[in-house]
Symmetry: C2
Subunit: 578 residues, 2 copies
């Protein structure tokens, strides 16, 4: 049965025809013409298909091993693949030229992220945080730290981690206990236990640079008392720092990624950013990580879609009710069954629409880096949506695609159930999706009285003017529901402090529905003058989205306007069964 | 962390206050008074909590083992637990007295099914088919077969399987190749390979009775040429039949259940029902199995809800925006967060509403067995809904409850991810959920021009008259959407043969939404005169359902009225990525 291959045609369509990246004068984009873009996209696809994809089933079956000395082995083939990755240079494509990267912009970097995650999601976890970690060190680190670490992380010689969570403090970082004691030489001694550290220990690089949240002795209580530190596994003098991996988790999936409990026993580290300013420094990294998680949702959706589509075409079961491809055959392909198509069309509509959205957002990030503050605000507004809506739909798509395979979808050897297990974590880590919803409703929507949300709505609306009625009309209705819901939330937030929290998840889903719908409007416009098969498929898929997904906003709006009162009414103890 | 305990209070509420089973004069119900019902329900809960629940994590970690001689060992403790089950007699509670059962009716049998599935779903797979198998043999078997097998299956001395699927023929049974050759003594020699046979081989009972679909030499093509046979592992003379387990599957979950590839090499069997009438005979068993799968969805929802509720109450993270239970604490329980409550209230609303629905349906089955043809038609109409909507929402609830645990939900030792993996198969087996939807829309709705559907709607409507407006009004709207959608489907089915298939899934979801809403109306009525905490919790949960779930029907109706044309428009090859 077929596995995954890079969806280069669709990627190139978004880059060239929708975003028109080769016409942009953003920094780094001047290197790009259509030939280079094609060569890069195809090269990245080839690397991921040939080097990473074969590791995916192996890594799931084998997992990681922690040895008695605390060292951790990654699955067979990961070391060689990592060496090939560095050799290929694809890992540095979006990295700043100043530190040895190729500076081609986030758009192409995001394409590579999608492909790596589709090919082998657990492998991708090791380099996954590199972009965010380098941004953090560049913007918050001293010159000495930048010089010592950034180039080596960019090149792939070192890898990095994000060490935030503690056993009793997940989302609520203010509760953390890890301590940082100032030393005479300006360094800090870090002591504490961190859990759920992806790639906390492994055998891919000699050094691992941990970015660790901890509290200084004079720290104010809560999340305003947290500082961020750079704590390397190997110190500059070549000795081992006082860091050890106490254990690795046994998880539902993503088995090739070592999820570590890490002990810091007076380990030497250096401050990143200001004292007690760790949260701000961390959010540079966290926002990058959240967007990356959304891309994982895309990758799982695309990978599972490809397997299910191939299966549906090959598998002969039942007979169609309408025109049959071969009336004399005992059975037709699964594609004659409308309900099988429903699942596959849902998957296409999400994967292609969401690909456009994450690549559009990546380009906005490049705009923001070039100083465009409106782009920055839009990225900030959409970050929780991309993280949560993307990972929710990515998981759901994988579950639907597993369904297309029937019983084979549940059996390990067919590879579908692994995608479901691997995809599940994306809804949880880097801020559980409910936390993303609260960020959107409580911070991004309410903070400025809805101003960014209005700008987003205006952008969408502007593109509806020239759109064909079959998509413009349901989009306008969905946008109207969203505006009404946002207005209702802002009006009622003062009266009941739980209003925004109660409405948050449905509101995030509405923005997700509308944002992807917007991308379909733009894609339909991009193929307006074409009548080839690709253009026709885009129109059919867009229409499916308009008919199946856009109507959801009315139910979401009704949910929101139900308010918080009844949600908060049940006494806490009544949640337990008598 | 707490695991599962039997939700006896809620069960007893449904049995006594909603269904009033002790007041019914249905056969077998005359044995029941409230004391007996309470003793039975609590006894079943105690058995499942003490004997089965401890096996659940062990069975997942250990799975089943097939040995070189083709024998299969179940996980540690299953043999002892199975012996205790037979000893307890709970397994025979709903079985016909004529064959050694206790004849107390399907309602109490269904309670036991729920509890067993919550406690250890993979264990439940072994006795899971017993009810359907005995019904099939009783109604389709010769007197000799009945005498030889039914009592031994009822008592638990033998177990049974359903052997339908072949490698190339899943849903499409007409394609099957297994052959049955008539022998001179009236028996048949069965030859072929069956896959996905739950409990095809194991060490719990000496004999295993396979109910096998096969084709006679003169069989017409397709599904009208299938016959059903009883094929025991051990023949009446004590010798082994020519049946062997070729392998067991490695699956996403339900590891304690041995899913076997079974070879029949001229095995001796006897006809059940008429020649070429296997499909009808099989559907006796299949309908029972489908309802049982719905009960699995309930069980997974309840089990995961209990774990998540306990975690949410214990785990202190973040501070509430409204009134805080303890303003001086550094953090509150997760229950102060509206979005955490959203997930838990969704889970309650589904689990409690669906419990009422499956127990109501079980009582209708008892009515149908007593000769009530309207009850029979209603059960037949709701069977695909209970199977598919129940397993979909059961899985989704488990996924949501996993989310409440954050990162711990993804780690094996917390027990939540196992529920998700175990729950996933329910959407696939015994007819994938898309097949259920087609059964509902194509057979149950369209066959009689919508007559049963109208009767169902009339029953619901009758209960809305006395309901409070806060639930009567949204229920009436949901019912209106459903009627409009059904009307639209019936009107358009003639024009485009794919109409019903395209609409089927959304229609099934609508019926599920309305049927559970109906049960909430009835539960609200049952606590009308009470103002204790239990009654208040019922009203709060009902209101949550009315606000959050009932509005979905408008979006589902819009989806349905989108029609089939665009869904079928994409050429088959265009589903593959270029």
């Amino acid at each position: 049965m077929s596995g995954w291959s890079a969806p280069t045609q669709d990627t190139l369509f978004v880059l060239n025809d929708v975003l028109k990246i080769t016409e942009s004068d953003l920094p780094g984009y001047d290197q790009l013409d259509e030939d280079i873009v094609q060569a890069v996209v195809e090269g990245m696809g080839k690397f991921c298909g040939e080097v990473l994809a074969p590791l995916n089933p192996v890594s799931d079956a084998q997992g990681c091993t922690r040895h008695e000395d605390g060292s951790v082995s990654t699955p067979e083939g990961f070391r060689e693949a990592y060496a090939q990755l560095i050799e290929s240079g694809w890992n540095t494509i979006a990295m700043p030229e100043e530190f040895g990267g190729q500076g081609m912009g986030h758009v192409l970097g995001t394409v590579f992220e999608e492909y790596m995650n589709s090919a082998c999601a657990s492998f991708m976890m090791y380099p996954g945080i590199v972009g965010g970690a380098t941004s953090t060190i560049i913007s918050a680190g001293s010159d000495a730290l930048k010089e010592a670490y950034v180039e080596k992380i960019v090149s792939g010689e070192y890898l990095a981690t994000m060490a935030l969570t503690e056993g009793h403090a997940g989302t609520d970082l203010g509760l953390m206990r890890t301590k940082a004691q100032p030393q005479d030489d300006g360094s800090f001694a870090i002591t504490g236990e961190k859990i759920f550290i992806s790639g906390g220990e492994h055998d891919l690089t000699e050094n691992i640079v941990h970015l660790v949240l901890a509290k200084l002795p004079d720290a104010p209580a809560g999340s305003r008392g947290i500082s961020l530190f750079l704590v390397p596994k190997i110190l500059p003098d070549g000795t081992r720092n006082a860091i050890s991996c106490a254990s690795i988790e046994h998880k539902m999936g993503l088995n090739g990624s070592a999820t570590c409990v890490m002990n810091f026993d007076g380990a030497t580290g250096w401050l990143l950013g200001k004292e007690h300013g760790g949260l701000a420094a961390m959010f540079i990294m966290m926002n990058a990580a959240r967007l990356a998680v959304g891309v994982q949702g895309l990758a799982h959706a695309e990978h599972s879609y490809q397997r299910a589509a191939a299966y549906a075409l090959e598998r002969k079961q039942g007979r169609g009710m309408g025109e049959r491809p071969d009336p004399s055959a005992a059975a037709d392909s699964l594609l004659v069954h409308p309900d099988v198509r429903r699942m596959l069309m849902d998957a296409r509509a999400f994967a292609e629409g969401f690909r456009a959205l994450v690549l559009w957002t990546a380009m906005e990030i490049d705009r923001a880096h070039a100083g465009d503050r409106e782009a920055d605000a839009l990225v900030s507004f959409l970050t929780p949506v991309i993280k949560a809506y993307g990972s929710d739909r990515g998981f759901e798509t994988a579950v639907d695609m597993q369904q297309v395979l029937g019983g084979h979808g549940y059996v390990k050897e067919w590879g579908m159930e692994q995608i479901v297990r691997d995809a599940r974590i994306a809804m949880i880590y880097e801020g559980a999706n409910g936390v993303q919803a609260l960020d959107l409703a409580g911070r991004k929507l309410a903070k400025d009285g809805g101003a960014v949300a209005m700008r987003f709505a205006a952008l969408v609306e502007a593109d509806l003017k020239d759109a064909p009625e079959w998509i413009a009309e349901p989009m306008a209705r969905a946008l109207g529901d969203t505006r009404e819901a946002a207005g209702w939330m802002l009006e009622n937030a003062g009266e009941d402090p739980n209003t925004l929290g109660a409405a948050s998840y449905a509101f995030l889903e509405m923005i997700g529905v509308v944002a992807i719908g917007w991308m379909w409007v733009r894609m339909v416009a991009a193929v307006e003058a074409r009548d080839d098969g690709f253009a026709e498929a885009k129109r059919i898929t867009a229409r499916h989205y308009a008919q199946s997904t856009l109507p959801l906003t009315s139910a979401l709006r009704a949910k929101i306007e139900g308010g918080a009162q009844n949600l908060m009414a049940l006494p806490e103890d009544a949640f337990l069964r008598a």
